[in-house]
Symmetry: D3
């Protein structure tokens, strides 16, 4: 049954994060292989696979939270890609980042916008 | 035109935050009346009034961000009410808080769940 | 096998957090039963059950991190109890909190010391 | 010379934080007497006693930082008192907290305003 | 009247942030032009333009807060320049960053000092 | 007696942080020599020199806290080196970082793992 959880997580990770997600897992294999396994199993196998909230809303919420926290730029980049992958529009992503001016201030939102600019530039 | 912005913000604040929002504004009138005015004009008149992202997604993103930041419980309470006010289901709110285990850890998510428990208890 | 993970987590949670941990799980059962299950399975079944670092060092590290973050007082209280439960001395707990003056400033450390004072007062 | 540092810190702590500062020191004496000593020596003996920036600017900066961090309300209360003690006006304190809307968001600033409201209510 | 607010903000932004501020606005024009407009109108048109606290104190407070938050280095750089632009001395800037050792720890302050070193190196 | 404190701190800094610590001090000498002195005296002379908790536990706690805060990568790098210098194994360091998934989320822990990967790559 653990296998099922891992497999479900692996499929979900590829659906959301695509190649960038696979690269993160790959880069963990030598230093912390158990971390790679847990990263697939818990966030993607246990959480993202849940029903009750659509993937688009989950990804917008994650972009919002990572923008507000402001201390995890690589993951924000991955999840702006992820938001696009699951069907969010560029406008929706920009709006949710702009919303963070109110809750985390302008510097956090500004750095979020610049992260989006980097991602959008790669996907055009 | 400033008046228009204030009025638009005031209507939006009442739509989202209801009585709780009005109480916050009221409690600011003696100590910082300009802050009350700016709180209506910028977050509600300028940001929440924007098109490009529906109010439900905005509120779920705000609940996510305030859960992740973990340092503004009164505002988290207000916005869990707000999410219900604009049509989010209790399940969607719980899901977006649970999603934060991955991005901000279990204590932040747990405190978010307890905030939701308090709000849901008042609205049943 | 999921069952094994849950059971291992449940035993570990009781070992570390004791009655306080059971109370948290209990308080989640009506509002978010899946969260209760995940809280047992991932933190306690997957992480705390790992070898490679003794429980005392894990708990001191958790007290340090929660003191530094400064936004999760209820969980800090639970883990100061937890640190005592797994064999840390009061002096070791005070020292690890004082160490945080350097990494998160005096207010965070001071609030950690007051949390310890509350816990130690209950356990004498 | 250590004595000199302690004495200089003690005088400075009383000048800035007044009775509230003395109470903090007193409350540490049983649980962490060395922390009390270090709190007098480093923040007050080493830092606040420096020349190169006047006390008013130091206290306004501390009120700004504690408002922005948003996770140390008791210390924010102490330093709003402190800002008044060293000659800041209520208006200056409100302005510096409002400034934080831009850098840490409206919830952080709002909680700062409410802390100021509590302090000003006690000092009128 | 909106125009007046925008113009007031634009003048204030140039006064405080100079060319660096204009560059930020320019870099937003393609990805999020509304964000550029709001950044001029709210922080600079509404907040920095207020009376009740001099610009030097505002900038020192912003340097303090961004140092303490520690997650917005580009904006800290801009505001160390800004503090110099409105008349703060290098010594005052160093002092306000050192003050943050007490409230946010040594790593945050150290990174603030290195940001100042970078800015001062460009302005000599 | 101040001299004694400085000397004790200097020896402790070299023991824990080695050459990297000396480089930090050196890089402060022109911009903020007093900060360099205080950095030796307080964190290393006053805190790390205390008895009551062994250096290995102190360093693991610091790695945990800096991983959780997620906004001080250069210092996290220094203290992963420091943990190795005082006798922690690579496995213990990886475990304490993985523990932070629970308390600060996966992005913070992931960035901690990548910091460890960088350090371990330099020390093999």
């Amino acid at each position: 049954m653990e296998n099922e959880r891992f497999n479900r997580g692996w499929e979900k990770l590829k659906e959301i994060d695509g190649k960038a997600g696979e690269n993160v897992i790959e880069s963990l294999r030598d230093i912390a292989p158990d971390f790679a396994k847990l990263l697939i199993e818990f966030p993607f196998g246990d959480i993202y696979s849940r029903s009750g909230l659509d993937l688009k809303s989950r990804e917008l919420a994650v972009v919002a939270a990572l923008t507000a926290l402001g201390n995890a730029r690589p993951q924000l980049i991955v999840h702006i890609h992820g938001a696009l992958n699951v069907g969010c529009s560029k406008q929706e992503i920009i709006e949710v980042i702009m919303q963070m001016t109110v809750y985390a201030g302008f510097p956090a939102a500004l750095n979020g916008i610049f992260a989006a600019k980097e991602v959008f530039g790669q996907t055009e």
